[in-house]
């Protein structure tokens, strides 16, 4: 399960609402104890998709490398990636699945009419054919 602490959660929601109607993306850093992952730091990253950012996001691998180094410097772990879905649900789309990686948790934030609506966390498989929903909590959830 993934729990997101108050400060990173606010940053993620603010980020998703600020870039609406486009998609935002970022890294989640924190601690992992068995199956329990606690996000203590959110790192906003650039959406570098060349297509319509209202329906696409793409991370620079170099930015993810920096996020991993930042986590190591702080004695923390890179837990996963977050991104937003403007004006639709927090499902894991076909595009999300085909461009995912099975090593991390993927938190999707649904933003409806510019305001946060709901969120889910997903764990894709290595073959990029299926994603399992995992329990996700945050302070107001």
């Amino acid at each position: 399960m993934v729990h997101i602490e108050r400060a990173p959660w606010r940053e993620m929601v603010n980020h998703a609402q600020a870039v609406y109607p486009n998609e935002c993306c970022g890294a989640m850093i924190g601690t992992i104890d068995g199956d329990k992952k606690v996000v203590t730091v959110a790192m906003m990253l650039d959406n570098v998709s060349q297509g319509s950012q209202a329906a696409r996001y793409e991370l620079r691998p170099e930015d993810l490398l920096k996020a991993d180094r930042e986590a190591r410097t702080r004695g923390l772990d890179l837990i996963g990636i977050y991104h937003s879905h403007p004006d639709c649900g927090a499902y894991f789309s076909e595009t999300d699945l085909k461009n995912s990686c099975p090593w991390y948790s993927f938190v999707v934030l649904s933003v409806q009419n510019g305001s946060f609506d709901h969120a889910n966390s997903w764990l894709p498989n290595a073959e990029q054919t299926h994603a399992e929903k995992e329990e996700l909590t945050w302070p107001e959830s």
Partner: protein, 94 residues
């Protein structure tokens, strides 16, 4: 010996090490030594055809090896190899 930084979710396949030091004159040799030492890492990094999975990028220090000679990229002591996934996505478009 080059240092390889192991991503958190893969450490369970590398005796929980976050960093591993292994010999090799090229990136291919170092990665070969890595998967020989930790065979369970191989299926996470390589597909059934023995190629790096589509979402796996390897960086030598700050350089993506796709642009420096791929597996043949020379490695010297003190070099750091990082395993970094490609990630993208987006909502369904109707």
């Amino acid at each position: 010996m080059a240092r390889i930084l192991i991503p958190t979710p893969l450490r369970q396949f590398a005796e929980k090490n976050d960093t591993v030091e292994l010999p090799g004159a090229t990136v291919g040799e170092v990665l070969g030594a890595l998967t020989a030492k930790y065979p369970d890492l191989k299926k996470n990094l390589y597909n059934d055809e023995g190629k790096l999975r589509s979402f796996v990028n390897v960086y030598l220090n700050d350089e993506d090896i796709r642009y420096t000679g791929k597996d043949a990229t020379a490695v010297v002591d003190s070099d750091v190899l990082s395993i970094v996934p490609s990630i993208a996505g987006g909502k369904n478009v109707r």
